[in-house]
Symmetry: C2
Subunit: 403 residues, 2 copies
């Protein structure tokens, strides 16, 4: 049985502690924490999904190397304010130095420590600032500080994004916790998405990799658009086994449903908190000829600035939806296409049913969340993408990002 997502975060599963501190990474003496530490009392099996960008930040290269080695992990050190990307060999050395310093303070091995960074690209990471607060972070570790960790990794995020879920299996109760940050314009995004997921399940490495990859594909990869990721995007998942409950092939689907529910919630929170966004829209493409075309079509609509500004103005300008679908690469007959705003049937066989429906569509578009469904009637493949509106605040945030 899968519980509902509820209050909680990375320290909700048994045996995980966290902490946060202000390292003044940006050098602007902001009164907020910008470094966070997660620690597990027992060694963790580790799985990760990392950016497919050719330009990978140093912490991504560093974590991928640890993943390849295949050993266990006990801690994650994360910072905001600096992405440590496009920093060359010095950037990678920074990761090693930080891991060594924290391993020393935690009395574990350096390759038991993962690193994650988010913030501005191309600026050297202030290593001393991060290692200088290692005692504060290590001494501060507590099992109720998941929220503090989640806050410390925020950049232009306006809301903290964390949750936890329980999965009751024959083998016993398993808890999964997670937090994320994103806020960039998402699709089409180059903003960093960092996600940390913890669980107290006992699970073999290959199963953990499998379940994380499968769930990422239908959650975070439907927000950040596959293949269009930032230099730092990372989903890091740790399983410490301290619940005593085992995930096997037998209860795999149960565990996967729990993880999916958690990740789907977090992914939606990212879209809802898109930079400058005032609302989240689900783009559902139904009955495409192939799954590839369904994804192309949904992602094209979700990424179109003209569609996203139509959301901003609450204008049911369905012509932009038709034109965007038509430019997506999906094959379909426009004269068969249906469009719905939530349950409101708005376009039938490629033509608006009645302009009198505009007011009803306008009312739906004023909601904080709604769904637009495009039925292509070209096959039986369907998918969803999450997106947000494009507002003047987005421009303001990103034109002034470094000032």
């Amino acid at each position: 049985m899968i519980g509902k997502v509820s209050y909680g975060g990375v320290t909700t599963p048994t045996g995980f502690r966290a902490s946060a501190a202000n390292g003044n990474i940006k050098g602007k003496n902001l009164e907020r924490d910008d470094c966070g530490l997660i620690f597990s009392d027992a060694p963790c099996v580790f799985a990760g999904v990392f950016t497919s960008n050719v330009v990978k930040a140093a912490p991504v290269l560093y974590d991928m190397e640890i993943m390849e080695k295949g050993g266990n992990v006990m801690a994650v050190l994360a910072n905001s304010g600096n992405a440590n990307a496009c920093t060359g060999a010095k950037g990678l050395k920074a990761c090693h130095d930080i891991a060594a310093a924290y391993a020393d303070a935690l009395d574990i091995k350096a390759d038991n420590v993962l690193i994650a960074s988010t913030g501005v690209i191309g600026v050297p990471l202030p290593v001393d600032k991060i290692t200088g607060i290692k005692e504060v972070l290590v001494d501060g570790l507590a099992d109720d500080k998941g929220l503090d960790f989640a806050k410390a990794i925020m950049t232009t995020d306006t809301t903290v994004k964390e949750t936890a879920i329980c999965v009751e299996t024959k083998s016993g109760l398993i808890t999964i916790g997670g937090c994320t940050k994103g806020a960039g314009m998402i699709a089409p995004s180059l903003a960093t998405m960092l996600t940390f997921i913890t669980t107290d399940a006992i699970i073999e490495k290959h199963l953990l990799h499998k379940v994380l990859k499968e769930c990422a594909e239908i959650t975070f990869n439907r927000v950040t658009v596959d293949g269009d990721m930032s230099t730092n995007d990372s989903i890091i998942m740790l399983a410490n086994g301290m619940s005593g409950a085992i995930v096997t092939e037998e209860n795999y689907e149960e565990f996967k449903e729990g993880l999916f529910t958690l990740m789907d919630y977090l992914a939606k929170q990212i879209a809802l908190d898109g930079e400058g966004a005032s609302r989240m829209i689900t783009i559902e493409v139904k009955n495409a000829a192939t799954m590839e075309e369904a994804k192309l079509c949904a992602s094209k609509i979700a990424n179109s600035p003209l569609v996203k500004t139509m959301f901003t103005g609450c204008d049911p300008n369905w012509g932009r939806l038709m034109a965007s679908a038509g430019a997506s690469g999906a094959n379909f007959d426009p004269n068969l296409t249906d469009i719905y705003f939530n349950d409101l049937h708005y376009v039938e066989k490629g033509i608006i049913i009645d302009y009198a429906l505009e007011d009803k569509a306008y009312e739906i578009m004023k909601e904080l969340q709604y769904t637009i469904t495009i039925d292509l009637h070209a096959g039986n493949c369907s998918t969803k993408f999450y997106t947000c509106d494009l507002t003047q605040d987005y421009i303001k945030i990103n034109a002034d990002y470094r000032s």
Copy 2:
């Protein structure tokens, strides 16, 4: 010898006349012309490049049918304020009715008349309004009204875009004239681009098609992004032969260079007048492994909202350029990549040369036009894309478009 682009437009070549009138297409009694007519005193060979969007507007379907028939053309009727797209069978009938009315008034055959429309999608075209002013348009035809025609087809354009050029060949002097409208956010665009090109050259149909296609590929398709066109995008070119000078295989390259110069100028004007744009930026990708990857990389950068807002803020945030190139699908080694702002060498082997260069880069980014060059050092294929910055005005224009 190719002349420079100069004052002039569609009526500059011998034998072309034009006119414009107010048809009140939007029904808002605006004090501006929204319908225009081009007429040639002699029958024209006709070539067209039309949108690759699956959803094609009625006038596009109509003109493509005429192009397939292969007959001559003598007139083009264009309107702004309504795209006649997503209007089904009625939309196509509207084109036939308008062509018949104007053919009657001009005493030519209906299939000698082309139609072009731009404006809002999904609203029935007010045929009566367009046919109701046929006497005004036909009586108004004059060889100095290219500018009036160019103004009538503007939508959110803030500048009129027209020019003409002379090509001196052994066979005699050839004149080419053209006008365009675009203004949509260009790359990534769903805004309509309409371009009308006239010439008094004698040229065979297959050569006219060839030269237009080749020039469109390296001009307008570098602005509007190949495969990502609106429902109405059209480039219509008419050649009436009235100069007496012939284009053959022998002087083909001369003629092509002239046409390229004209189309390149018009394409840049579109980028410069992108909705809400305050400046035009040329994205030059050098030394990609393949031409496909050069195009992918340049178009990805030109389309990135994060890059476009960096232009808005005049912020030389080269990390966004690196990240965008890395997400483009082009293969390259980030540690070999060079970036230039105009002639300023800014990034060498993937790392900024000196942060003291920021002020110089900032000065360049304040210019109305500049070029960013990304040298991937991965091969020998290079290309250019034209783009513009993304401003709060863009959001305002597109969120309020129909109100």
